[in-house]
């Protein structure tokens, strides 16, 4: 790499970063995000208002109880604040309409045997409002208390109404019996997965926007006939590396803008994501970066070669899809990976250079990737890179000055043999 590599890299970056197409595509994602946010605000305003009411709901009204079973009246002192007894439905209805209570329950005489009860609320709200008004936890505790108060002590009563079975995640053990997932905290766990997923997706997008720019840049220079002047001034190697570096930086800029706008637009949510990202396993983070660099170099060189092969930008893009197809393959099976990130096909694709970067970036967030797959995929990439670069530069050099026709497979082969 020479000083000229950096001159070319800077030129590629500066001239492309101000292209209207780049600015448009960079701002498109934040703009869509902003529109989405506005839509959310408009459609869920009611809900947000309600949430606000709920936030200051210390003045919330109690729930009326029409107890025909005789199990719940008189109301136990610990529930007196939240529940109020009424002798019959008419009295309860009158209290509801007079807004003295927000809802009332009718507990029938055969409640113990049938388990059915009816709740009434005022119209004008929605089911979400009903959920808030009829707090399930309190209701459960109240109903269980009525059924078993004289049989159990208070601590057991509480546990009976909330066993805690609803919100835990299993801790996975490896064959030696050691926990594999360190954190059993659901937020950190899912946050970690989502954060590394988003991180992987952004890096993936960055690889493809950058190598797409690379393809177009080479192809345009060929179409514009600038190539011959360039090659009379710099070596094909300098030219290729200058472009790879400059346009790689361009792709990262785009992803950076998207990330920043995400943080700004979502405010706290963005910070939440950042927190989750910090909770991410540092090894996963480093590995994702390694796959990003190796992946970008691989696709960058391939796309530059594709750019030099076509007779026009469009034709070059068609050739480029041959390579990007390989990289897109892991995405097609990604939905099956939710249940088994280490499925055989995923493991096979991790060992194939064209799909390895994407496949591994998709698998890493789930954790638990066999070490052999990580070592193997990196080794495959590291070994195939020099070969791809060598062949890429040869094809690049051989086809740059062939105008109006595409190199035949035989000509490509002869270019490679002449190395």
């Amino acid at each position: 790499m020479t000083r000229l590599t950096w001159t070319i890299a800077r030129h590629e970056y500066v001239t492309n970063v101000r292209r209207p197409g780049f600015i448009f595509s960079t701002l498109l994602i934040p703009a869509l995000g902003l529109i989405g946010l506005i839509v959310i605000i408009i459609f869920f305003r009611q809900t947000i208002d309600l949430l606000r009411i709920e936030m200051r709901s210390r003045d919330r009204r109690p729930v009326g109880v029409v107890d025909q079973s005789g199990l719940y009246t008189p109301i136990a002192t610990q529930f007196a604040e939240d529940f109020r007894a009424y002798p019959d439905e008419a009295a309860a209805r009158a209290a509801l309409l007079a807004e003295q209570i927000d809802a009332y329950l009718v507990i029938p005489a055969d409640y113990v045997t049938r388990g059915a009860l009816t709740a009434y609320t005022r119209s004008g709200g929605n089911s979400f409002q009903d959920l808030i008004v009829l707090d399930r936890n309190k209701l459960n505790l109240f109903l269980v208390h009525g059924l078993a108060a004289d049989k159990l002590d208070t601590t057991i009563l509480r546990r009976v109404s909330d066993t805690g079975a609803g919100d835990f995640l299993p801790i996975r053990l490896d064959s030696q019996g050691n926990p594999v997932t360190k954190e059993a905290n659901p937020f950190t766990f899912f946050g970690g997965i989502i954060a590394s997923m988003v991180f992987s997706i952004l890096l993936f997008i960055s690889i493809f926007t950058s190598s797409g720019y690379l393809l177009r840049s080479v192809s345009e220079e060929k179409e514009n006939r600038v190539m011959e002047i360039l090659l009379a001034s710099v070596s094909a190697n300098d030219l290729l590396w200058g472009k790879v570096i400059g346009l790689g930086a361009l792709g990262l800029t785009q992803v950076g803008v998207w990330l920043l706008s995400g943080v700004l637009l979502t405010g706290g949510l963005g910070m939440l994501m950042a927190g989750a990202l910090a909770a991410l396993n540092p090894l996963t983070f480093v590995l994702a970066l390694i796959y990003f660099i190796l992946g970008y170099l691989l696709y960058g060189v391939l796309m530059a070669a594709a750019g030099s092969l076509g007779t026009s930008v469009r034709e070059s893009q068609q050739i480029g899809t041959l390579f990007s197809g390989g990289a897109a393959l892991p995405w097609m099976i990604s939905s099956f990976m939710m249940t088994n990130p280490n499925m055989t096909l995923a493991r096979v694709l991790s060992w194939f250079p064209l799909s390895a970067p994407t496949m591994m970036m998709l698998r890493l967030p789930y954790g638990n990737v066999p070490v052999i797959d990580i070592v193997g995929s990196i080794a495959v990439l590291v070994l195939s890179l020099p070969l791809v670069m060598w062949a890429g530069v040869k094809v690049f050099r051989a086809s740059l000055l062939v105008y109006g026709k595409r190199l035949s497979v035989k000509e490509i082969w002869s270019a490679l043999r002449k190395a």
């Binding site: 220079e221 011959e228 002047i229 002449k418």
Partner: protein, 306 residues
Amino acid sequence: MNPEPALFADKLHKEFAAVVAVNQLSLRVERGQIFGLLGPNGAGKTTTIRIWMDILKPDSGTALVLGQPPGAARTRVGYLPEERGLYRGLRVHECLTYFGQLKGMKQADAARRATELLERLELADRAKAKVQELSRGMQQKAQLAAALIHDPELVILDEPFQGLDPVNVEVIRTLIRELRAQGKTIVLSAHEMSLVESLCERIALINKGRIVLEGALTDIRRRFSPNALDISPPLDLAGWPEVEQAQTHVANGVTAQRVYLRPGVQHRDFLRAVVERGQPVERFELATMPLDEIFIRVVTGRGDEQ
């Protein structure tokens, strides 16, 4: 004379698929002259130039540029390729500055030099225009500026007059002479033989990848000149033993006569005969063959070298 030639090729060979583009070509271009590289389309001129510019690698043979292997002297060579191209979306001045930087110049120096060249080529008012907004002739001149941006010692111009109007042809021709006066070497490949004749001191004619004719333009002309004289006004030459044939023609409004002498008869023998016979002669000059004709004869294999 500098011991190292500006361009040197020894048994240079290059094939594409089944086509031999350059066939054991050997050539030496000395420094400080205007050298014409001529040949029909597909003769191998551009391929030879591309090998010198390190854009293509030869299959075999040696190529040297200013005494160095191709590629090593990139910053000392200016090149105007036959396939013209500039960054269409960039401003002219910006584009030239970038090409200067690629030739190893600092950005500020390249920018200053770009301004000078645009003024010299009468393009100063278009410096801020985008390349795609320029007319074809203007783009051609901007392209030439790109080749000269780093003040190279050796300038290789592939078809520099293509697509230019007579006014711009003159601008470029004057510029080439100025470069020559500054001691630079200019190698030009062109189809316009009259321009080659008016500029070049030496030429090489390439056909089918080989050099078929090479030397100083005056020598080549002499070698190809017929044993004939151009005289005016025309004479009645019937019965003259020295004369094989005479043709009267009108050139530039003047009636002249081309007199073909019998083999073995020298020009001075004919002149002496004219004087002895007391004929009035206002103009008397050796007939030469136009370069186009030499070109056609050599290329078609009718090499009537005299």
